[in-house]
């Protein structure tokens, strides 16, 4: 038994400095993008929307003030600010208008903007979008019944107006290998080939023209950096820096316009492409995709030809990791709650199988993993794909990073994800080429698929079912005291509940189709579309179904709470018959005010999901099977794809939980619900193996939209090599024997978290996994901090 000495690789001086700067920098709002896009629409009223957007993007990238700071080797930013967010009022403008004065002052996720910028937004830019954003158009069409469900947070079907449209497979290889000039050439050729006449041909022509204009913008951004670097080289403080700047000038003259010739050009080309993509659709969940794969040919060639060492590559990748943290997103107040602590998810996907099913782990997979561990910032999110033939050494490296307290990576099971996609009709090669987007949403190769478009609040639906269709708790004043339903048996009760659940779900789908129609008509994306295979070939924007594979998804929130509540009702009302349903609902209506004894009994004696109790686990399984059937029976989405199920919650389980009445699992009104797909925090009292088996009662191949499963470990579990090896075995069994889909762990003990609450200054570097994303613990709201503390600490005692 050997004790591990946890030596974290030190960053170079240069990067330590850059890392510090990005942590300390305030978040700011950049307004060039919104100004230019708004003007492009105002000044070109007769042009199709997609061309208006493309013109706006090109103008932005032409005019964006640029700079190259001291020692950076990768250049380019997506806004004019050092750590900046662009604004996208064409998606949803009401929150921006209402909260404009508050962004500087609010307590969580503040953004700086100057008085002059505020004035311009208030007087000139935002009024244009008042009532005309995509969200506004959708809200105007809302029928009474849906509005009722939405305002009581039973369903949230408008996530696509809040950034989830960045969930897309992105083929960066296309830019790296052909350059944007290649993309322009292809678009020109296809434009010339569009046959005359008809609205469809008009749409195609507009699409190709827009793609060309937007691509010109990205090229221009790079050329401007090339010129700037040349100028700066002449007055550089040292010959060394002058040489670096001349190299930068040369690289930016080449990429992303032309194909990358070296690893470094490929990294820079990726970064300009990424900055370009930031100009549309509030892509806070845009993936970096399988970056260890598409950069590898460049890496291998440079190393072989002696131009590059692994250490040099590591330095570039470390810098890239730091640079991701300069892209932030302003969210309105609600967003700061539902994605508490961190609104941005730029996923990099490492390892896994290739399109032929063979292991694709390579040396860069290790370089990226190492960067995640050494840099330890919130972005990018790093996801590791694992499969039974993942090299043991990579398993070891991943196990080490997962258990060392860095809390920066999550893992997915290839076997389960690939099958989940082929089940919904995705070709197997594309299924194997999946990438992670958002927090935990896998997307197959060549897939456009916002898969958290609708949040579905299971415990709220149950609350309304138990109270004659009305909420017990409502901020909108809809609460009512209705008679509870009566059923002879559990089977009757459960069947009636599922009918109600189905009706709400179907309403959510119909709303989601409306959202899709608005996205198609008003919110095309000429920057992203050419990088999603299928779109250029078909002459169709991704929003119009241009991608080869399409999906959109529904996310179940509070799944563990729902399972436990149903299991408790079955146990008390129908098995033991110790209380009537009416009595139980009565307790919920008064938030157990006079029934602490009953509440304790529900918490401590009713079956709990996460303890390997078949009375709860079979409900878990059934709810997934039932929802899956319902999804498969739905008409295709507006883009012609499948609806997929996901079980991740970001911080919705806390935010939405705050508006859910007491539940039959013994939870008080307003308390957090269960996170991700897992058990209620603190209720998985039988340890990690039991919790994993409960979770795997659900068929994850029916969750193509992904899931998030969280565990928290005491760091002392990993003091020894034996502890780390046990964890790696645990993970392998969970994935390849039980069929688990996802796992992320936070390695931090309760004592540390409590101390961090008291002394936040001491713990500014402490990261924790929330659900599918990392956040700085001290920046989380108290409610989220408490939920994480409530998670069972696995300490082997």
């Amino acid at each position: 038994m050997t004790t591990i000495t946890k030596q974290r690789r030190a960053l170079s001086q240069r990067l330590q400095h850059m890392r510090r700067r990005v942590i300390d920098a305030p978040r700011e709002l950049g307004i060039v993008r919104v100004r230019e896009v708004t003007n492009a629409i105002r000044n070109n009223r007769d042009l199709p929307r997609i061309i208006q957007f493309a013109l706006g993007v090109r103008e932005t990238l032409k005019k964006l003030p640029i700079d190259i700071s001291d020692s950076e080797l990768i250049v380019g930013k997506s806004t004019e600010k050092f750590k900046g967010s662009a604004l996208y009022p064409e998606l949803k403008s009401d929150g921006l208008i209402k909260e404009l004065d508050n962004f500087n002052e609010r307590t969580s996720m503040q953004f700086k903007l100057t008085d002059e910028e505020k004035r311009e937004l208030r007087e000139d830019i935002l009024p244009f979008w008042d009532g005309t954003s995509g969200f506004d158009k959708w809200a105007k069409q809302l029928d009474k019944d849906t509005d009722f469900l939405v305002r009581n947070l039973a369903i949230i079907p408008f996530n696509d107006f809040q950034g989830s449209t960045g969930l897309s497979y992105v083929d960066y290889r296309k830019v790296l290998e052909n350059g944007y000039e290649g993309i322009i050439g292809e678009a020109q050729a296809r434009l010339a080939g569009v046959s005359n006449g008809g609205p469809e041909a008009e749409d195609k022509r507009a699409f190709y023209k827009a793609v060309i204009i937007a691509a010109e913008g990205v090229i221009e951004l790079a050329k401007r950096h090339s010129r700037l670097a040349s100028e700066m080289a002449r007055t550089a403080p040292s010959e060394e820096r002058a040489k670096e700047l001349r190299e930068i000038a040369e690289i930016c003259a080449q990429v992303p316009a032309k194909p990358a010739r070296t690893f470094r050009e490929a990294v820079q080309s990726f970064w300009f492409t990424f900055c370009g993509l930031q100009q549309m659709d509030m892509p806070m969940e845009l993936p970096g995709a399988r970056i260890d794969q598409y950069l590898y040919p460049f890496y291998r060639r440079d190393v072989k030809e002696g131009r590059l060492s692994r250490e040099d590559a590591q330095e570039f990748i470390d810098e890239l990791f730091v640079r991701f943290n300069q892209v932030v997103f302003l969210g309105e107040y609600v967003i700061t709650r539902v994605v508490d602590g961190n609104s941005t998810r730029f996923d990099l996907t490492l390892g896994g199988v290739d399109r032929d099913g063979k292991d694709a782990t390579n040396e860069l997979s290790y370089v990226f993993l190492d960067a995640a561990d050494a840099v330890r910032l919130l972005h990018p999110s790093v996801t590791i794909r694992l499969h039974p033939d993942t090299p043991e050494s990579f398993f070891q490296a991943v196990g080490e990073v997962m258990t060392n307290g860095s809390n920066v990576v999550q893992v997915f099971n290839d076997n389960v994800i690939v099958e989940s996609f082929t089940r919904v009709g995705v070709p197997v090669e594309d299924a194997r080429d999946y990438v992670l987007t958002g927090c935990i949403q896998p997307l197959s190769g060549n897939m456009y698929g916002p898969s958290c478009s609708v949040f579905f609040n299971g415990p709220k639906i149950l609350e309304m079912f138990l109270n004659g269709g009305k909420p017990i708790l409502s901020l909108a004043g809809d609460d009512a005291d209705m008679p509870s339903p009566e059923y002879e048996s559990w089977e009757d009760f459960y069947a009636a509940f599922k009918d109600y659940y189905r009706s709400v779900l179907e309403r959510a789908f119909s709303q989601y189709r409306l959202v899709g129609d608005i996205q198609r008509r008003d919110l095309p994306n000429p920057v992203l579309s050419p990088l999603v295979p299928g779109s250029l070939e078909r002459g169709k924007d991704v929003k119009a179904g241009g991608a080869l594979n399409n999906a959109s998804g529904i996310a179940l929130v509070g799944n563990g709470t729902l399972i436990d509540s149903l299991a408790a009702i079955r146990d008390v009302v129908y098995t033991k018959k110790s209380h009537t349903l009416d009595e139980v609902v009565g307790w919920l209506k008064t938030d157990f005010e006079y029934n602490e004894e009953e509440r304790q009994a529900l918490r401590n004696h009713a079956p709990k999901f996460g303890t390997c109790d078949s009375r709860a686990d079979e409900i878990a399984k059934d709810l997934v099977d039932f929802t899956d059937e319902l999804l498969l029976s739905q008409p295709k989405t507006s883009r012609g794809g499948a609806h997929v199920l996901s079980m991740h919650t970001e911080a919705h389980h806390i935010y939405q939980g705050s508006m859910v009445a007491a539940s039959a699992d013994g939870r008080h009104a307003g308390e957090a619900m269960s996170p991700g797909c897992g058990p209620t925090s603190g209720m998985d009292k039988e340890g990690p193996t039991a919790s994993m088996q409960s979770v795997c009662a659900m068929d994850f191949t029916k969750m193509a939209g992904g899931s998030s499963y969280n565990q928290r470990y005491s760091p002392k579990m990993f003091d020894t090599e034996q502890g780390v090896q046990a964890f790696i075995s645990l993970l392998k069994a969970y994935f390849f024997k039980l069929g688990g889909q996802h796992l992320q762990i936070s390695t931090v003990d309760t004592e540390t978290l409590r101390d961090a609450q008291k002394n936040p200054a001491k713990y500014e570097d402490l990261l924790v996994r929330v659900t599918g994303y990392s956040a700085r613990f001290v920046e989380l709201t108290e409610a989220t901090q408490e939920e994480i503390i409530a998670r069972s600490e696995i300490c082997g005692c």
């Binding site: 038994m1 050997t2 004790t3 591990i4 000495t5 602490e596 004894e597 009953e598 509440r599 304790q600 009994a601 401590n604 004696h605 390997c612 039988e686 340890g687 990690p688 193996t689 039991a690 088996q693 760091p715 002392k716 579990m717 003091d719 020894t720 090599e721 034996q722 502890g723 090896q725 046990a726 075995s729 645990l730 392998k732 069994a733 024997k737 039980l738 696995i794 082997g796």
Partner: protein, 314 residues
């Protein structure tokens, strides 16, 4: 639901701990059987000593609903008594624990049939398989419920599970021999060599224990010796040197160390015990103390290491 073959005997189980990493190789499930012939002063599981079921009470969980009082057929619940339970009257029938909504009252010891217990431990088979783990029987002293232990180990072997036992060695030699075919590993506690001291601190003579230790080595059983490292009581120069001499005499050069943890002390009050242990047992073993024990063993030519892993520098 449970299968109860006619001759399916039952054992009294104190606890079942899954994802257990310190009780043998890999990921294990440790089954603690209730009842022990020793009563060591430092015993970290005082609730495991009595071979009979008991009732525990955790005052901080009590919400004062008095469900226990209504449920108790022996009239043994006293609300004006801090211990809550009149231990003289309590028959440990468990009615109070069953009804207690907040689990303030809880049964200490639960009967399991072989088949039920096997079903429990088999739940984690996938994890054993992946990690090279299995089932460990611990206690109390598992050999005290000998027939049950033998039958359960046989059943585990038939189910293809890796098995281990943690024993204090105080058992009839014949009994230990009968278990051997069904055990992959034996963790054998050597506490104190001096028989007077052993008697004084554990309440029992150690001749049988030492004889069993010799016997197991002689018949080449897969035995690992362990020492609970208890400040002053076992972790003293004289004892360690005597353990060293004993081990060398039987031809063993290694010993595992189980560091003492003091957090069991609160458990005494759960059992209604008012006595408090001596001061040296109220604080944890320090890493310096553990290192000095390792050092003393190495002077005897014995390689000692902590079963919880080396002390980590954090």
């Amino acid at each position: 639901m449970d299968v109860h073959p006619e001759n399916d005997m039952t054992g009294l189980v104190l606890d079942i701990q899954r994802y257990s990493l310190d009780d043998g190789p890999g990921i294990r499930t440790t089954v603690f059987l209730k009842g022990c012939p020793l009563s060591c002063r430092w015993c970290q599981n005082p609730e495991s000593i009595s071979p009979a079921p008991e009732i525990g009470f955790r005052a901080e969980r009590c919400i004062g609903c008095r469900t226990c009082q209504k449920a108790c057929p022996a009239d043994a619940i006293m609300f004006d008594n801090a211990d809550r339970i009149d231990r003289g009257r309590c028959t440990a029938c468990g009615a109070c624990a069953e009804g207690c909504p907040s689990r303030a009252m809880f049964a200490v010891g639960k009967r399991y049939s072989i088949s039920k217990l096997l079903e429990e431990v088999k739940r984690d088979a996938a994890f054993y398989e992946e990690s090279g783990g299995g089932v460990t029987l611990s206690g109390g002293e598992p050999t005290l419920q000998f027939d049950f232990t033998l039958a359960f180990l046989k059943a585990c072997k038939e189910a293809g599970l890796n098995t281990a036992i943690e024993t204090n060695g105080l058992a009839a030699s014949d009994n230990l021999r009968k278990l051997l075919p069904y055990l992959d590993r034996i963790y054998f506690d050597l506490k104190i060599i001096n028989s007077v001291e052993h008697q004084r601190l554990t309440g029992a003579d150690n001749r049988q224990i030492l004889e069993n230790a010799r016997m197991l080595v002689e018949c080449r059983a897969p035995v690992d010796f362990r020492l609970p490292v208890v400040p002053s009581m076992t972790a003293n120069k004289a004892n360690i040197s005597e353990i060293g001499v004993f081990l060398k005499k039987v031809g063993v050069r290694e010993i595992g160390l189980c560091p003492y943890h003091e957090n069991w002390v609160t458990k005494l009050s759960w059992l209604g015990r008012r006595d408090s242990p001596p001061a040296e047992l109220q604080k944890p073993l320090t890493s310096e103390e553990l290192l000095s024990v390792i050092d003393m063993f190495s002077q005897e030519g014995i390689n000692a290491r902590s079963v919880e892993g080396e002390i980590a520098a954090r």
